[in-house]
Structures are given as C-alpha cells and as structure tokens.
C-alpha cells in the first residue's frame, strides 16, 4: 500500500521510484501529457510515466496499456484511471482523469465555439478540408502499421475477421452494437478453440 505522504505540489523530474505520486502530481503530470499529445497521447504518456517520473517500469506500463487496450473506450483515458487508482485509489483515479481530460476539453470547447461562429467562412472551411484530408492519411497509416503483425504472422482468421468487420461497418453501414455482439463472441470462441487445439 502506498504510504500516506503529503502530495508533492510539483512533480520533480528526479522523483525516486519509491515515492508514489500525490494527487496534485497526478493531475499535473496527466495534464502535461495530454496537452503535449497532438494526434495521440500514448507516446507522451509513456515518456512521462516511464522515462520522466519513473512511476512504472516499461514492462509495467506495457502490461497496463494492454489491459486498457482490450477494454472498450478511449484507451488512454482508461489508462489514466487504472494508473491513478493504483497509486492513490479512487481519488487518484479522479485526479488523473481530470488532468487528462480537463484542460483539453476546455481548449476543444473554445474551438467548438469559434467553429460555431466562424465555421461558414470560406478560408476556414478550405483549411479544415485540407487538414482533414491529411488526418485521414495519418489514420490509414496507423491502421496499416497495426495490421502488419497480423499479415506477418499470416493470421488468416484475424484477417478474415478484420475484413468482415470492415465490410459490415464501413460498406454496409450496420450499427456498431449489432456487429460487435456477433463478432466478439465468435472471435473469442474461435481464438479459444484454436489455442486449445494448438496446446493439445
């Protein structure tokens, strides 16, 4: 259990591993990671938690992230809560969650208000159209990068499931819940059966 030492007001760069972060430190650290994270916070979260603050080893971080990745919802938001709770219980979870989401939500809300006022201006529309074209390119790259392990392993079952979900959602435009309520049990069942056969 973490000792109840008073929270450090500012996270010192050389915080020893033995001292668990306080609530303020959690809030500030996650706010910083979040505000640094353009196009994804994961890299900055790893840098902050593992390299800068030494709050977790790289393996612990990977393990925690893997857990948050197989759970539904925004992975990094899940990570903030699991991480905060590990050190400071529910108050820690709330502090990390608020740090991660609070500041960027304020920024995005201001941007949303600006867009509501100026969204019809032609120059802005053109700029956003350009940004969104590039952002789609980045998304395509991210998907391909993550597909590479499946292709390299010649994971035929995985690729079939990938193609099926892609078609159901992207081409047929079926509702997400309906597709996943079929796909998740099927995929888990087949994965389990294949593991058993491989082990036998």
């Amino acid at each position: 259990m973490p000792p109840d030492s008073p929270p450090a007001a500012i996270p010192a760069p050389d915080l020893p591993t033995s001292i668990p972060p306080g609530l303020t430190a959690l809030f500030v650290a996650f706010a910083k990671m979040s505000l640094a994270g353009f196009g994804g916070v994961l890299v900055f979260a790893r840098r902050g938690i593992v390299d800068r603050h030494c709050w977790m080893t790289a393996d612990q971080f990977n393990e925690t992230y893997a857990l948050c990745h197989f759970l539904p919802g925004p992975n990094i938001v899940n990570l903030s809560v699991v991480f905060g709770a590990r050190f400071r219980g529910i108050p820690g979870a709330v502090a990390a969650f608020a740090g991660l989401l609070g500041p960027p939500v304020v920024i995005v809300t201001v941007l949303a208000a600006l867009y509501a006022h100026f969204g019809e201006i032609d120059a802005l529309r053109r700029i956003l159209a350009g940004v969104s074209c590039a952002a789609v390119g980045l998304l395509i790259t991210a998907v391909f990068r993550m597909m590479m392990p499946l292709i390299r392993r010649r994971d035929l079952v995985g690729l079939v499931f990938l193609a099926a979900v892609f078609s159901a959602i992207g081409l047929l435009r079926l509702p997400l819940q309906a597709v996943l309520l079929v796909a998740i049990p099927l995929s888990i069942g087949i994965t389990f059966a294949m593991r058993r056969r491989a082990a036998a």
């Binding site: 196009g39 539904p72 925004p74 989401l101 867009y115 956003l128 789609v136 980045l138 997400l176 593991r195």
Partner: protein
C-alpha cells in the same frame, strides 16, 4: 428511446452506450459517431463531420475529444461536457473494476485470449473509420492525392504528424483541394 426528447439526454445515452462498444478506442467508434450524428439524428452535415474530425486532430489531448465537438454542436457547453463524460465514464468504471479483479487473479490466460480476439475487430473498425472519413473528406481527386501523400509520408518517415496536418491546412487554404 424517443428522438424528440431532451438532446442532452440523447447525447448521454448515445455516447454512454457507444463507449462500451468502442473496441479499439475512439478512432474505432468514428463510423458509429458518423452514422448517428449525420444519418440518424441529423445533428450535422457530412462536411461538418469532416470539419469536426479535423479540429479534433488539430487539438491536443486524446482522440476521444471529437465527441466534445459533436456535443457542443448539439447542445452547447452542456452538450460538450455531457458527451465527453458519457463517452468516458462507463468505460473507466469498467477499467477500474477489471484491473482490480485481474490484480487479484494473476496467471489468467483470458486477458491474452480476449486481446488476440479483439485486435482484428478493432482494426476492422479503424479501417472503416478511415474509409468513411475518406468518403466525407476526399471530394476531389486532388484531395484524395493529399490523403495518399500524407499516408505515404507518415508511413515512410518519422515526421511529426502535426506538420502533415498543418501542410494539409496550407494546401486547403491555397485552394488546392
């Protein structure tokens, strides 16, 4: 649910339910967000959805903040807050309890099996996101070219994605797209 009811309530249950099905994170839920915001509820046009996606990518913070923008569009600041919390709170409560449960029962092989089973599904969802966003954003062949170019550059180099987004914005401003 009655679509004529309070829009705040509609946002809350729409995103609250969606969050529990967002396997692979916020980017995997984009097709569902588009389906509901554009096709079902008519909260915004196709073009506005593409704009909202662009703004969310330009902003710091997790990708999930696209729901903040959708919420604001529907019901102002209250809508922004409700949509964000609805998209995050159910799953973090789940994550909290699952992590505590797994902390007690180590050596379970189920997390690994579930993860292996879910990765292809989340990739399929993200692929669908890319397709739908490409269909809403890339209306001209030059726009498609910018997308392809950004994808290749991001794949082949380690350039900061923010530069690619800004370059896209400049090309858009110049009227190329």
């Amino acid at each position: 649910m009655n679509p004529d009811s309070n829009p705040i309530w509609t946002l809350a249950w729409t995103f609250g339910l969606m969050s529990l099905f967002a396997v692979g994170g916020a980017n995997a839920a984009i097709p569902e967000m588009h389906r509901i915001a554009v096709d079902v509820q008519h909260w915004m046009t196709d073009k506005q959805f593409a704009d909202v996606f662009a703004i969310s990518q330009l902003s710091p913070g997790p990708n999930v903040l696209i729901v903040t923008l959708i919420g604001y569009r529907v019901a102002g600041v209250a809508g922004a807050l409700v949509a964000t919390l609805a998209m995050c709170v159910p799953t973090v409560v789940l994550a909290y309890y699952v992590s505590r449960f797994l902390g007690q029962t180590s050596h379970s092989r189920w997390p690994a099996i579930i993860q292996t089973a879910l990765v292809p599904l989340s990739l399929g969802l993200m692929g669908a996101s890319a397709l739908i966003l490409a269909l809403t954003s890339d209306r001209t062949w030059t726009a498609g070219l910018v997308t392809a170019f950004a994808a290749v550059l991001a794949f082949a180099t380690r350039v900061n994605p923010l530069w690619l987004l800004l370059a896209g914005g400049c090309l858009g401003f110049a009227g190329v797209i």
